[in-house]
C-alpha cells in the first residue's frame, strides 16, 4: 500500500513538474480589443475584432513565446462609454490595448491612458488628435494628413507624371489636411502643381475645377476627398473626354458602391490603400481565406490593420521582454521604447514607428481594373 502511494506521489510530482515546464515556455499576454461592436459604427469595430481574432488564433497555434488572451470591450463609438470600456478592460487584467477602432473615442481613451500609463496601439483611428500630446498611443494606419505626403511619395517614386492638379474641399479638415502635406511633400520631390481648385460640401458642379486641370495640362489629378464628390468629378471629366490619372486616398475606398454611378468611369483610378483583399500576396491570401472561413465575409482594411496589430504587439512585447506578471503601467514605458526599435512586415506593409506614434510604411496604391481594386 505504501509503495503504491509512493509511486502515485512520484507520478503526481512528475506531472506537476512537466506542467510547470510547459507553462514556463509560453507567457500569457493579455491584450484588450476596444471598439464599437454594437451601434452605428459596429461595422468597423467588428472588423477590427475579427481581424485580431484571426491573428490571435494563429499566434496561439504557432506556439511561440507568447500566448494571447484577447479581452473584448465594446465602446459603442461613444466618448463616455469608451472610458468605461477601457476601465473594464483594465479591471479584467489587460496589459495593453489594441484600439480603439474609431478616432474620437480613441482620443478620449488615449488621453486617459496617458495619465494612467497604459499602452495603446490603434489599428484605424486616423485623426492627428489621436497621437497628439501623448506618448502612449501608436497608429497602424497613416494619420489623415500623412496620406498626402504618402501619396506624393508614391507618385514621385512610380514616376506617374510631374504635372499635377489638386482639387480639394476647403471646408473639410480631412481634405485640407491631406492637401497641405501633399503640396509640401510634392515640392520637395519636384512635383509641379499646375492647378489647384477648391469646392465645399454644397458643391454639385465641378466643371470649373475639371476644366482648369484640363486646360493646364495636368497628367495627374489628385483627389483628397470622400468618394461622393470624387464620383461627380469623374463624371465631369468623362463628359469632357479628359483622361488623366485620378489619384485618391482612403476616402475614395467605396467609390465602386456609389448608387447610380457608372463604375466603368472609375477604371484606372488609383487610390492609396494599404490592403486589397484580392491581392495575390501569400500572407494576404492566407489572412483573407481564414477570415472568410471564420466570418463568412471579405475582410476590409480595418480587419487587416487589426490583424497586423496583434503581430506588432507580440513583436514589441518580445523586444521589451514583457512577462505575464507585469501590470499595464509597467508595460507601457517598455512598449513605447520597443515600438521605436522594431520593424514589422505585416499584410499592410513594412512598418516602423517614431516617438510621435505615427507609422512610417511604404505607401501602396491600388488601381481599379474591371471594377475591382488590384495592386500593381
Amino acid at each position: 500500500m505504501k509503495k503504491l502511494f509512493a509511486v502515485l506521489m512520484a507520478a503526481v510530482m512528475l506531472m506537476s513538474c512537466t506542467a510547470v515546464l510547459a507553462e514556463g515556455e509560453a507567457v500569457t499576454l493579455k491584450i484588450a480589443h476596444i471598439g464599437p461592436t454594437t451601434g452605428a459604427a459596429a461595422l468597423y469595430g467588428l472588423a477590427t475584432l475579427h481581424g485580431a481574432e484571426v491573428a490571435v488564433e494563429e499566434v496561439n497555434a504557432a506556439g511561440g513565446k507568447y500566448k494571447i488572451e484577447l479581452i473584448n470591450e465594446d465602446d459603442e463609438h461613444n466618448v463616455e462609454k469608451v472610458i468605461n470600456a477601457y476601465n473594464a478592460a483594465l479591471d479584467a487584467g489587460a496589459q495593453m490595448i489594441l484600439g480603439t477602432t474609431t478616432s474620437k473615442p480613441c482620443e478620449a481613451a488615449g488621453a486617459q491612458g496617458y495619465v494612467d500609463r497604459v499602452f495603446f496601439l490603434t489599428p484605424s483611428a486616423s485623426s492627428t488628435a489621436v497621437t497628439e500630446d501623448k506618448d502612449n498611443v501608436y497608429q497602424i494606419c497613416f494619420s489623415d494628413p500623412n496620406q498626402g505626403a504618402a501619396s506624393a511619395q508614391y507618385i514621385a517614386e512610380h514616376k506617374l507624371g510631374t504635372k499635377i492638379a489638386v482639387i480639394y474641399n476647403n471646408a473639410d479638415v480631412y481634405s485640407t489636411g491631406i492637401r497641405d502635406t501633399f503640396v509640401e511633400k510634392g515640392k520637395e520631390l519636384g512635383l509641379e502643381i499646375v492647378s489647384e481648385t477648391t469646392f465645399t460640401d454644397e458643391t454639385t458642379d465641378f466643371t470649373v475645377q475639371v476644366a482648369d486641370a484640363q486646360n493646364k495640362g495636368a497628367e495627374i489629378v489628385f483627389l483628397p476627398m470622400y468618394y461622393t464628390p470624387a464620383s461627380m468629378i469623374l463624371q465631369t471629366a468623362a463628359a469632357k473626354e479628359y483622361k488623366p490619372i485620378f489619384f485618391g486616398v482612403d476616402g475614395m475606398d467605396g467609390i465602386l458602391s456609389v448608387e447610380g454611378f457608372d463604375t466603368s468611369l472609375a477604371e484606372g483610378v488609383m487610390l492609396l490603400t494599404p490592403f486589397v483583399a484580392t491581392s495575390a500576396d501569400e500572407k494576404v491570401a492566407n489572412f483573407v481565406s481564414k477570415y472568410k472561413a471564420a466570418y463568412n465575409e471579405v475582410p476590409i482594411q480595418f480587419a487587416a490593420d487589426a490583424y497586423d496589430g496583434i503581430y506588432i504587439l507580440v513583436e514589441a512585447a518580445e523586444k521589451a521582454g514583457i512577462t505575464a506578471e507585469m501590470e499595464a503601467e509597467e508595460v507601457c514605458d517598455l512598449m513605447i521604447a520597443a515600438m521605436q526599435e522594431i520593424t514589422v512586415d505585416g499584410i499592410t506593409g513594412s512598418m516602423t514607428w517614431d516617438a510621435t506614434g505615427a507609422v512610417t510604411k511604404t505607401p501602396m496604391a491600388a488601381t481599379i481594373v474591371n471594377g475591382e481594386y488590384v495592386f500593381e
Binding site: 461592436t37 454594437t38 473584448n72 470591450e73 465594446d74 461613444n78 466618448v79 463616455e80 462609454k81 472610458i83 468605461n84 477601457y86 476601465n87 473594464a88 483594465l90 479591471d91 474620437k104 482620443e107 478620449a108 488621453a111 486617459q112 495619465v115 485623426s127 488628435a129 500630446d133 471646408a171 479638415v173
Partner: protein, 360 residues
C-alpha cells in the same frame, strides 16, 4: 420642541433621507477609494453618475413639479459642457490659472449661467405653449443648440478668445478649444468625485427648497390646475419660467462637470436620445420624486456596465430590465406591498421620535 404638522414632518423625513442617502453613498465610496477596494470601472463612472443624477433631478423639476414635458434637456447640458471646456481652457492658457479646483468652480458656474441664459431665451416663447406643443418645441430647441455647436469654432491666443461661425476663420496661432464637428478638444480633465458630490448637494438644496417654498406651491398649483391657479392671481408664465430656468442652470452645471471629466466632448453626445435617456431616469424614479430620480439615474447609468458580461446582448438585457422595472413599479400588488413596507418603517421612526420627545 415646536409642534409640526404631519405633512411637514413627512416632508422633513423625506428630505433628510434624501440627503442622508447621498452623503452615506459619498462616504462609503470615498472610503472605498481610500482603501483601493473600488474597481477601476466603478471609479471611472463616479463623475458621470453625479452628472446624470443632477440632470435627472433638474429635469424632474420641469416634468414632475412644473408638469411640463421638456425633451431638450441635453441641449442645456451641451451648453454647459462647451462653456465649461472653453472657460477652463481659456483660464489655463490665457491667465495661467493652474489651480484646478478654482478653474472647475469658475467653469461650472459659467456653464450654469450660460445654460440659464439659453433657458431664459428658449423659455420665453416656449412656456406660452402647453402640453405636446411644448414637448415638440423643446425638442427642436435641443436640436438647434446641437447644430449651432456643430459649426462653432473657438480658439485662444495671447489671452484673447476668438470666435468663428460656419467657417473656420481664426488667426493661425490660436489654440483650438472648440473645433466644429470635432467638438471641444484638448480639455484637461479636472472634474472630481467630490465636486460631483458638492453639485448634487447643491442641486438638492435648490430643488427641495424651491419645491417646499411659496414659489414651489405656486408652481405645483399651475401644474394641477392652470385655470384655478390663474384665477387665484398666480402668474403662471413667471412660475413656469422659474422652474424651467432653474432646471436649465443645474443642467448647465452638470454639463460643465461632465465635459471637464473627459479630454474631448462632441456634439453627437447631446442628441435627442440623450434627452430621452434623462427622461427615462425621471419616469422610472417617479414624477416629482427627487429621491427616486437619484436612485434611478445611478442604477441605470451603472447597469449597462454591470451587464458587460452579456457582451453583445447587453443592451437587449438592459431594455428588458427597463421594461420589467416599469411594470413592477406600476403593479398594484407590488405597490401596495412597498407602501406597507414604507409604513412599517415610518411607524417605527415616528414612535422613535415620539419617545425621544417624551424623554425630553
Amino acid at each position: 420642541m415646536m409642534k409640526m404638522s404631519k405633512s411637514k414632518r413627512k416632508r422633513l423625513i423625506y428630505n433628510c433621507v434624501t440627503f442622508a442617502l447621498v452623503i452615506v453613498a459619498f462616504i462609503v465610496l470615498q472610503s472605498m477609494i481610500a482603501n483601493k477596494t473600488i474597481t477601476r470601472s466603478l471609479k471611472g463612472q463616479l463623475v458621470p453618475i453625479c452628472c446624470w443624477v443632477v440632470m435627472a433631478v433638474s429635469l424632474n423639476l420641469v416634468i414632475g413639479i412644473s408638469g411640463e414635458l421638456s425633451l431638450g434637456h441635453a441641449g442645456f447640458m451641451s451648453v454647459g459642457a462647451y462653456t465649461g471646456a472653453v472657460v477652463s481652457g481659456w483660464l489655463l492658457r490665457a491667465f495661467d490659472m493652474q489651480d484646478p479646483t478654482l478653474r472647475l468652480v469658475v467653469a461650472v458656474a459659467a456653464g450654469g449661467i450660460l445654460a440659464g441664459i439659453a433657458g431664459t431665451l428658449i423659455g420665453i416663447p416656449v412656456l406660452r405653449l402647453r402640453g405636446d406643443y411644448l414637448a415638440i418645441v423643446t425638442l427642436a430647441f435641443g436640436e438647434i443648440i446641437r447644430n449651432l455647436v456643430n459649426v462653432l469654432y473657438i480658439g485662444t491666443a495671447n489671452g484673447k478668445l476668438y470666435f468663428s461661425f460656419l467657417n473656420k476663420e481664426l488667426p493661425a496661432d490660436v489654440t483650438m478649444l472648440v473645433d466644429g464637428a470635432k467638438g471641444a478638444v484638448k480639455i484637461k480633465p479636472i472634474s472630481t468625485f467630490t465636486a460631483g458630490f458638492v453639485l448634487i448637494i447643491l442641486t438638492l438644496i435648490v430643488v427641495l427648497n424651491l419645491v417646499n417654498s411659496r414659489a414651489g406651491r405656486a408652481i405645483k398649483a399651475c401644474r394641477d390646475n392652470r385655470i384655478a391657479a390663474e384665477s387665484m392671481g398666480v402668474n403662471v408664465t413667471k412660475y413656469k419660467m422659474m422652474a424651467f430656468v432653474t432646471a436649465a442652470v443645474l443642467a448647465g452645471m452638470a454639463g460643465a462637470l461632465y465635459g471637464l471629466n473627459s479630454s474631448t466632448v462632441v456634439p453627437t453626445q447631446f442628441t435627442f436620445n440623450q434627452s430621452i435617456n434623462v427622461l427615462v431616469f425621471v419616469v422610472l424614479g417617479g414624477l416629482g420624486n427627487v429621491l427616486g430620480s437619484i436612485i434611478s439615474a445611478t442604477l441605470l447609468t451603472v447597469l449597462p456596465e454591470i451587464l458587460r458580461a452579456f457582451a453583445d446582448y447587453r443592451m437587449l438585457v438592459y431594455a428588458v430590465v427597463l421594461i420589467l422595472v416599469m411594470i413592477a413599479t406600476n403593479n398594484p400588488i407590488i405597490r401596495a406591498w412597498l407602501t406597507r413596507l414604507g409604513n412599517i418603517f415610518r411607524h417605527k421612526f415616528q414612535r422613535g421620535t415620539e419617545k425621544g420627545g417624551a424623554a425630553r
